[in-house]
């Protein structure tokens, strides 16, 4: 039963292993100690059910990450978020009782890499995930972020409901929890404005030019 569960676990959390098994049950099953007959029976009786289980798992994960990163979700838009999450979920499987947090942090890194460092949404991803992470446990922590865009200021000025993107200004964000279980204290330092600044990217971007 232990061996069978280990193989099942691979089928349920690794989409590539599942598709390989369904395409060649005997061959893939043999790699895991199953006879040709056992492999065929498993593929015939459970193939679609495995796909359904995997869909349900990804749906659950997607919902949790949306809940943990609501601002990034809105900034990406539902269609982009869903597409990118599918790509992320195919390559990363979180573990442990804080797995939804870890999933969200990993997705934020994934999205940030796809967006590229000049896109303010990449900064939003990094900022939001840095803020969300420590809320899941009480460990002492110190976080330091350097952003290219003043995301904290933009949010504080109601940027999400407006029609402008964050200003491109070097911004440093520090978070510290000194006492185990205590609150995290966040500090933001924004570089002084020097001449014009631009930002790009995002469905709400209007250039963000200073003095416009």
């Amino acid at each position: 039963m232990k061996d069978r569960q280990e193989f099942w676990a691979r089928l349920l959390v690794e989409p590539s292993t599942l598709e390989r098994f369904l395409a060649d049950p005997a061959g893939t099953g043999a790699e895991h100690g199953l006879s040709a007959e056992e492999s065929r029976e498993l593929a015939d009786s459970c193939g679609e059910a495995f796909r359904g289980f995997a869909r349900a798992l990804r749906r659950k994960r997607r919902g949790e990450v949306r809940r943990i990163l609501p601002r990034l979700t809105r900034a990406l838009g539902n269609a982009t978020f869903d597409d990118w999450f599918e790509a992320h979920a195919a390559a990363y499987v979180p573990k442990g009782i804080k797995r939804h947090r870890d999933d969200a942090l990993a997705f934020a890194r994934f999205a940030s890499a796809r967006l590229g460092r000049d896109d303010w949404r990449a900064d939003l991803a990094r900022w939001e995930s840095a803020r969300a992470g420590p809320e899941f446990d009480g460990a002492r922590c110190f976080a330091a972020l350097r952003l290219r865009h003043d995301v904290p200021g933009w949010l504080a000025r109601g940027g999400e409901s407006g029609a402008w993107a964050p200003e491109r200004r070097a911004t440093w964000v520090f978070g510290i929890r000194l006492r185990r279980g205590g609150a995290v204290h966040w500090y933001t330092l924004v570089a002084p404005r020097l001449g014009r600044s631009r930002s790009r990217g995002g469905s709400d971007d209007r250039g963000g030019r200073a003095g416009r």
């Binding site: 569960q5 691979r10 959390v13 459970c46 495995f50 573990k95």
Partner: protein
């Protein structure tokens, strides 16, 4: 009602209309002080029933001792009349499914679950009840009906049953069976608590999904009435995990469940 972070404030505001709460154990393990304070306030106001998600009683490789110890500490702090987990496995070979998977309904699974449950009961000094899950996969190797399997499990472990009406309905509906007929061989005399929740029918497959994000559907209410006519659980929990409506709608569902039970003399 199942406690959920998004509902926390409304739960406190409507405490007089909620008899007891089920807390998801994972929401209160290794958490910041603010969350621990919330637990303390919940304890002051409600009877709390911890409900675990990750013990993986169905894992042939055994259960996670470190996680069990943390769970035990939470149960000890909360002092519930019982706590609950699932007839399921969630991890194997270093991989976590992130979702509850069914074991084959056979003797081997019963021995595995009984062995793990015995370990859990030695560490957690409160009665354990076991919940039936939705079987999106019907594992090969099953030799027993769901009812017969749960009956044998209850006999072997000495645990009570957390009968999830929505899961029972979902499995029966997806197999094209009558859920009320299913009850005939379930160990109803061992039912301690009920779950009920909403779901929806998946486009394309036509299968019921117990997503816990819709109102409880009428077929599940009909099944709840049948269950309450046949057994005397000590309580019922409404599970709602998303698409939260105004709290009044959830409280109405609680009142409907209360009324169903009263109609059959189940609770005051």
């Amino acid at each position: 009602m199942g406690h959920r972070p998004a509902l926390s404030a409304e739960i406190f505001l409507n405490a007089d209309r909620i008899d007891f709460l089920e807390i998801t154990a994972e929401h209160f393990l290794d958490v910041p002080n603010a969350k621990r304070e919330e637990l303390r306030l919940l304890r002051e106001r409600f009877r709390l029933i911890p409900h675990g998600l990750n013990l993986s009683l169905g894992s042939a490789e055994g259960i996670d001792g470190a996680y069990l110890d943390r769970l035990a500490a939470l149960v000890e702090e909360v002092e519930p009349p019982w706590w609950s987990e699932h007839v399921a496995w969630t991890r194997a070979g270093g991989r976590e499914l992130g979702h509850l998977a069914p074991t084959p309904r056979n003797r081997e699974s019963i021995e595995v679950i009984a062995r793990n449950a015995a370990i859990a009961r030695r560490v957690v000094d409160r009665p354990l009840i076991l919940e039936n899950i939705t079987a999106t996969i019907d594992p090969p190797g099953s030799t027993m009906s769901e009812g017969a399997f749960l009956r044998a499990l209850v006999d072997e472990t000495g645990c009570g049953l957390l009968l999830d009406a929505t899961n029972l309905f979902t499995n029966a509906a997806n197999r094209g069976e009558d859920p009320r007929r299913q009850l005939d061989d379930w160990p109803l005399e061992s039912v301690v608590q009920l779950h009920f929740a909403g779901g929806w029918v998946e486009e394309g497959t036509g299968l019921w999904v117990d997503a816990h994000d819709h109102p409880t559907p009428e077929p599940v209410w009909a099944l709840m009435e049948e269950i309450l006519a046949r057994c005397a659980p000590r309580g019922a929990i409404l599970e709602r995990d998303g698409r939260f409506p105004p709290i009044g709608e959830l409280l109405s569902e609680l009142e409907r469940a209360r009324e169903l039970g009263r109609r059959h003399g189940r609770w005051a």
